[in-house]
Each structure stands twice: as structure tokens, then as C-alpha cells.
């Protein structure tokens, strides 16, 4: 049945993409992927060979990095992304296999996954230059990518199921703690290189190279083993999915019946609205989890890696885009059905958008600040004035830019999103993919500019760049606020977030 269900669901999802621009953006991205993969392969063949031995030695680490990403990405999303929120399909006999295949289908709609995939293709091409069979090597890489992606989704469903009970949650926390402590011990004991030298992905790279060298039996056995694991994960994954969906309801529903202590009245209407919006963010399970992951993970990784100051500059740029994707791209969805009631209140329309802008700025800026501070805690060497200016400038600029883009998207493309389930996102998966490319590309470019300025010791350039980008973002924010002033625009946004 799932074979028939999945295409139907995909067709429905596609028809539900109302915006012509989003459709065009998606088709463009889909068309871009094969081209980018070909580009990576060609680039791998053309790049000078000076570092090819190093690349071969480091390839298992890159393959391992992809596996970690394939495991962490669905966990960070609360257990994999969804084609439809469960509430919308509850009356239909959707099989667990369909649910599992749907989560697999949307897994590549993730900029980090896609860029790492392209990188692996590039590395495969680079380390096999001069060998006879590039095609066989690429087949192995492709099977490996599919295998770890399916395994990531399988683990995510297992954890969703486990987290339905208190004992299961304790086990998951205990495992997380053990992994965290092990990572800290490895970093503190300077055992990182030893661990990476024994990466479990070394046989995979060996299979890739044997394919390129026409050692057919070795290549065949390695690739078939990977394919076998892939099929095993597919089989186990759909059973894990069925098990997770059979377990008692998500605990977020129980949290909704908890009482919250009353607080003294806020000073002003704006302060009252800001307080409600903050509560709306922190009481939403997917947003709370997303913020924790966003703040903790990049900071811990940056601290563990003991980055150069020029690289620390990039940390706020990477975090800002993620923070915007939590709910900022559709920030009025926080009010959901309450948007209609709120619109009937006698207040200046700018009050509502100002409150949400303040809370979103806190979310983005706060996440960037914590990640940047964590990243700089173990940065190598003393920072120069240019390093500090670049970090601060990048933080301010990326916060302002992401804020401006989020406001524009929230006013232009609102849609209903309850943000109640742990895997809920503020927009459908395809739109989220387009938004993530848009936000991450802009903020990464800005991060690279600041990194370059820091490298050149040009603190004055950092200040000028910050002033320019913040001013441009300010103009964009002002334009969105003026749009919001129009009663027709407000009615459209309210109708979309309240009624869908």
C-alpha cells in the first residue's frame, strides 16, 4: 500500500505549494543538484595534486563526518522531518512504511546534508585521479550516502519511540551524556587523531579506491556489504517507525495541561506582548529543542575543535540562519488561531510586529552570542582587534540580515503551523529547503567576508561592513513594517496563520 501512498502524498504536497516562486525555486534547486555533483567531480579531477595523499588520509574522516551529520540532523529535528504534520493525516490509513519513506524522502532537503554530499563526491573524485574507474568509486560513495542516511532515520525513529516513556527518556539522556563525556575525554587527552585514524569508515574509503583501481572482487564485496546494511536499515527503519508510532502519545501533549504561575502585570502593552511571544517560543517543544541544539551543538563543536580566530568568525554566521529557520521565517504562526482575536484588539498594528521582531532578534542574537562565546573559549592564540571586531560585526550583521529576511518572508508567505509536535516546522519541507538555502547562503557569504577582513587585520573594514549590512537590513525591516501597516496585508497574514 505504501508504494501507492507515497506518490499520492508527494503529489498532494506539491499541489499545496501555492507560491509560483517557491515552485520555481524548488525546480531550480532540483535541477541544480546533478549539475553541482558533476561540478564537484570535475573539480576533483582538475584540482592540483599536491595534497592528494593528505586527502586520501583524511577521506575516512570526511566520510565519518557525513555519517555523524546523517545521525545528528534528524535528531536535531526531533526525529526526522515530515512530509505532512501527523495531525493532517490522522484520519487516513497511512502505513508506517509510508511514514518512514516520506521522512527519508525529505531528509536531503537540508543544506548541510546536500553540501556534505557534494563534498564527498568531490573528495571521491579527487582521491581517485589517475585511477581507471571513477564510476565504480562514485557508486560506492552513493551507496554509502544512502546507507548512512537511512541509518540516521532509523535511529531517529528508535529515539522517538524510546522518548515516549520516562524510562526511555532517561536512557536517551544517559547515552547522550556518555557520548558527550567520551568526546570531552578524547579532546582533553588529545586522542582525536588516534580516534580518527581508526575511523570505521576506513574500509569504505578502501572500497572506493579498490573500485577505482579495478580490484573488482574487493570493490564488489565492500559495496555489496554497504548495500546489505542499507537494506537492513530500511527493513529495521520501517519497523522502528511502526513501533514508535504505536507507542503512547507524545509527551508534549501532557505538558500542555501543566499550570504556569501568574506573573505581575507587565509595564506596557508592548512588554505584555513580548512576554506572551517569549512564552510562545519557550513553551513550544520543537522550538525549545531547536534552540538547545542550535546553541549547544555549534558552540561545543567549535570549542572542541579549538578553532583559529578567523574560523570563529564563521560561527555566528552558521548559527544565525538556523535560528531564523526555527520559527522566524513564519513568525506570525506563533499566534495560530489567536491571530484573529489579537487582530480585533484596539492596539496599533505596529505593536504586534514590533513585539515579534524583538523576540526574534533575541532568539537569533542570543543564539549567535552564546555559540560565538563558546567557540572563542578555546580559540587558538590571543585575538587581535580585527578578530574581535570581525566576530562582533559578523554577529550583528547576520542577526540583522536574518531578521530582515524573516520579517519579509513572514509578511509575504505566511502559513498555518501549530508547532505542537516535536517535529513540526514553521513551513512545509520544500519551502523550508528554499528558505534554508536563502538564509544560509547569505549569512555564510557575510561570514566569509568578515573572516577575510579579520585575516587581513582590517578592523576598519569590519566596522564599515557592519554599518552597511545593518543599514541595509534596517531598510528591509522598515519596508516589511510598512507592508504590515496595510490592513489588507494584515488580514491576509491573519487568515493564513489562523485558518490555514
Amino acid at each position: 500500500m505504501s508504494q501507492a501512498q507515497l506518490p499520492s502524498l508527494v503529489r498532494l504536497r506539491w499541489r499545496m505549494v501555492r507560491s509560483e516562486r517557491v515552485r520555481v525555486g524548488l525546480l531550480f534547486l532540483a535541477a541544480l543538484v546533478p549539475g553541482v555533483l558533476c561540478g564537484a567531480v570535475i573539480a576533483g579531477q582538475l584540482v592540483p595534486r599536491a595534497g592528494s595523499f593528505n586527502a586520501t588520509v583524511l577521506a575516512p574522516t570526511a566520510f565519518l563526518g557525513f555519517a555523524v551529520l546523517a545521525l545528528v540532523a534528524p535528531l536535531a529535528a526531533g526525529g526526522g522531518n515530515e512530509l505532512f504534520p501527523p495531525e493532517q493525516l490522522v484520519t487516513y490509513p497511512v502505513t508506517p512504511m509510508t511514514d518512514f519513506l516520506a521522512s527519508l524522502l525529505v531528509a536531503p532537503l537540508n543544506l548541510a546534508w546536500m553540501s556534505q554530499f557534494v563534498l564527498l563526491f568531490g573528495i571521491t573524485s579527487y582521491i581517485t585521479v589517475g585511477h581507471a574507474e571513477l564510476g565504480l568509486a562514485l557508486v560506492t560513495t552513493l551507496v554509502y550516502v544512502a546507507m548512512v542516511t537511512v541509518a540516521g532515520q532509523m535511529v531517529a525513529w528508535l529515539l522517538i519511540g524510546a522518548r515516549q516513556t520516562r524510562a526511555g527518556r532517561r536512557v536517551v539522556w544517559a547515552i547522550t551524556g556518555v557520548i558527550g563525556i567520551t568526546a570531552i575525554v578524547i579532546v582533553r587527552a588529545h586522542l582525536g587523531y588516534v580516534v580518527l585514524d581508526h575511523a570505521p569508515t576506513t574500509p569504505v574509503v578502501s572500497t572506493v579506491l579498490s573500485g577505482a583501481d579495478r580490484h573488482y572482487s574487493h570493490w564488489m564485496s565492500g559495496t555489496v556489504a554497504l548495500a546489505g546494511i542499507l537494506l537492513g536499515c530500511l527493513w529495521c527503519g520501517q519497523r522502528a517507525c511502526a513501533w514508535a508510532l504505536r507507542r503512547p502519545g507524545d509527551r508534549t501533549r501532557f505538558k500542555e495541561s501543566r499550570s504556569h504561575a501568574r506573573r505581575p502585570a507587565a509595564r506596557s502593552p508592548l512588554a505584555t506582548l513580548v512576554r506572551i511571544d517569549r512564552a510562545n517560543v519557550w513553551r513550544a517543544a520543537p522550538l525549545r529543542r531547536g534552540l538547545m541544539v542550535l546553541v549547544v551543538l555549534p558552540g561545543v563543536v567549535a570549542a572542541g575543535a579549538a578553532l583559529q580566530w578567523e574560523s570563529v568568525v564563521l560561527v555566528p554566521a552558521l548559527v544565525a540562519a538556523g535560528a531564523g529557520l526555527l520559527y522566524g521565517v513564519n513568525m506570525f504562526c506563533l499566534d495560530a488561531g489567536g491571530a484573529t482575536w489579537l487582530a480585533s484588539m484596539p492596539h496599533r498594528p505596529r505593536l504586534a510586529i514590533t513585539a515579534k521582531t524583538i523576540v526574534l532578534a533575541e532568539t537569533i542574537g542570543g543564539s549567535c552570542l552564546i555559540a560565538a562565546v563558546a567557540g572563542s573559549a578555546r580559540a587558538t592564540g590571543a585575538p587581535t582587534l580585527a578578530n574581535l571586531t570581525a566576530v562582533a560585526g559578523c554577529l550583528l550583521s547576520c542577526t540583522a540580515m536574518v531578521l530582515a529576511t524573516c520579517l519579509q518572508l513572514s509578511v509575504d508567505r505566511p502559513n498555518r503551523a501549530d508547532l505542537r509536535g516535536r517535529r513540526d516546522t514553521p513551513a512545509p519541507p520544500a519551502a523550508m529547503a528554499v528558505y534554508s538555502v536563502r538564509l544560509a547562503t547569505a549569512s555564510t557569504l557575510v561570514g566569509l567576508l568578515f573572516s577575510l577582513a579579520a585575516h587581513q587585520n582590517a578592523w576598519q573594514a569590519c566596522i564599515l561592513l557592519t554599518a552597511g549590512l545593518v543599514a541595509l537590513s534596517g531598510l528591509s525591516i522598515a519596508r516589511s513594517v510598512r507592508q504590515w501597516d496595510d490592513p489588507g496585508t494584515r488580514a491576509r497574514v491573519v487568515a493564513a496563520v489562523a485558518n490555514g
Binding site: 500542555e256 495541561s257 505584555t272 506563533l334 495560530a336 488561531g337 489567536g338 484573529t340 482575536w341 480585533s344
Partner: protein, 235 residues
């Protein structure tokens, strides 16, 4: 006395779809009118326009004598509105909704006592500090009515206030409608439940495809004869 709710030639169109066409409606002070009709007749759209949530495409709209298009904030200050679906911020508690309404409406410090009394009357006191996402549909409807009447508005707009509400909740809603009318407010209730509409309001206006097709005292729509007449109007 001038009408508290008045629409003249009201038209609301969503692109090619005309939801309301040339609607002339008036509700006097200290009176209650039921807007009845089939799904998609334009009842909720009319109330949204009166509440200032949706701009009219054409025509004049006044509540409490104030032009809703020209002076939206002043008009909204006179209105208490219970939306048809949802109407609540999902992760705010019932009390936080009331506190927000009090702040945005600049109510006097005694508002909390009235809020407390209303929550008690609607049997929501025990759930006052819970987030509304965990409310049942009926509880959400009851809280929406409480929020609409908190400030004792000049104009009370209730959209499907009885939908999914238990008999005690219906009784409490009937009480607040009667009290609002007694204190001189104009009440407009949109519902597809004819019997409750006839019980709550003195007059009923039947809408079909965005137009008024009949207006009569509610007593004429009671009983089997009233039901048959209503069905004939909907056809």
C-alpha cells in the same frame, strides 16, 4: 437612538469569490440579532469585518457609531469579538489572554475581579493557568466568550459561541448575552443552530450567498413551523 452596528452596501470579495454582496444591516442598542444561514453564507465574514479583522471591499461599516475603516482602533475599543474557530494563542494561558486583553484595552485595575467571576461562571477557573493548546474545543469556545465580554463592550460579536459547548456553557453564554442586552449593548450572534439562535436573540437575519434573504422576529423561527420556514429560506 443610532444603530450600534450598521453596514451599508457592504461587499467583501476574495478575488473572484464574492463572500458578501450589498449587505445592509443594523443592530440597535439593547437588542440582539442572530445571523443564521448555511455554511459559507457570509456570517463569519460579516463579523470579521465588523470586528476590524478583515477590511471591506466596498461599503460603509460602523460600530458604536464609529467608522471601522477610518478609525479602526476606536471602533475595536467598543467591540467584544469571539472568533468562529480557534481564537486563542496556543501556548498562552487563559489568564495571560485576559491580562493581555486588559492591557491592550487599558482596563481599570478592577478587571481581575470581573475576569475571575467570568471564569467561575464559565467553569474555567480551574484551567485559568493552563495553556489553551491543551483545552478541549468547548473550553476554548467558552474562553473566547469570556474574552469578548471582559470589558463590557458596547457591541458584542459572537461567532458560533455555542459550537461544541456543553449545556452549562450554553446557559452561561445565554446569560452574558442577556446581560449585555440589558446594559444597552448591541449583540450580534452568528450561528447555524437555529433553536439556540432563536432563544438567544430577539431577531434573526437569514443570510444566503452573502445576501440577506429574510429578517424576522426570532419567535417566527421557533417550533416546527419556524424550522420549515427557515429550511425554505436556505434552499
Amino acid at each position: 437612538m443610532p444603530a450600534q452596528v450598521e453596514t451599508i452596501g457592504l461587499r467583501v470579495a476574495f478575488g473572484a469569490v464574492v463572500a458578501i454582496d450589498s449587505l445592509d444591516l443594523a443592530v440597535q442598542p439593547a437588542s440582539s440579532v442572530a445571523l443564521v444561514g448555511r455554511n459559507g453564507a457570509g456570517k463569519s465574514t460579516t463579523l470579521r469585518v465588523l470586528a476590524g479583522v478583515l477590511p471591506a471591499t466596498k461599503g460603509e461599516v460602523r460600530v458604536g457609531g464609529i467608522d471601522v475603516t477610518r478609525y479602526p482602533a476606536a471602533a475595536k475599543a467598543r467591540v467584544g469579538y469571539c472568533p468562529d474557530v480557534g481564537g486563542l494563542i496556543p501556548r498562552a494561558t487563559a489568564w495571560e489572554h485576559l491580562a493581555l486583553a486588559a492591557k491592550l484595552r487599558d482596563l481599570r485595575p478592577g478587571w481581575a475581579d470581573r475576569a475571575h467571576a467570568l471564569l467561575e461562571r464559565f467553569d474555567l477557573l480551574g484551567a485559568a493557568d493552563r495553556v489553551t493548546a491543551g483545552f478541549s474545543h468547548g473550553m476554548g469556545r467558552r474562553l473566547s466568550v469570556v474574552l469578548a465580554v471582559l470589558h463590557e463592550p458596547q457591541v458584542l460579536l459572537l461567532d458560533e459561541p455555542f459550537d461544541g459547548v456543553d449545556p452549562l456553557g450554553v446557559e452561561a453564554t445565554m446569560e452574558v448575552i442577556a446581560q449585555a442586552r440589558a446594559s444597552g449593548s448591541a449583540v450580534l450572534v452568528s450561528t447555524h443552530l437555529l433553536a439556540l439562535a432563536a432563544q438567544a436573540c430577539e431577531e434573526a437575519v437569514v443570510l444566503r450567498a452573502g445576501k440577506i434573504v429574510a429578517a424576522a422576529p426570532s419567535s417566527e423561527l421557533r417550533g416546527e413551523a419556524g424550522e420549515q420556514r427557515y429550511r425554505a429560506l436556505l434552499a
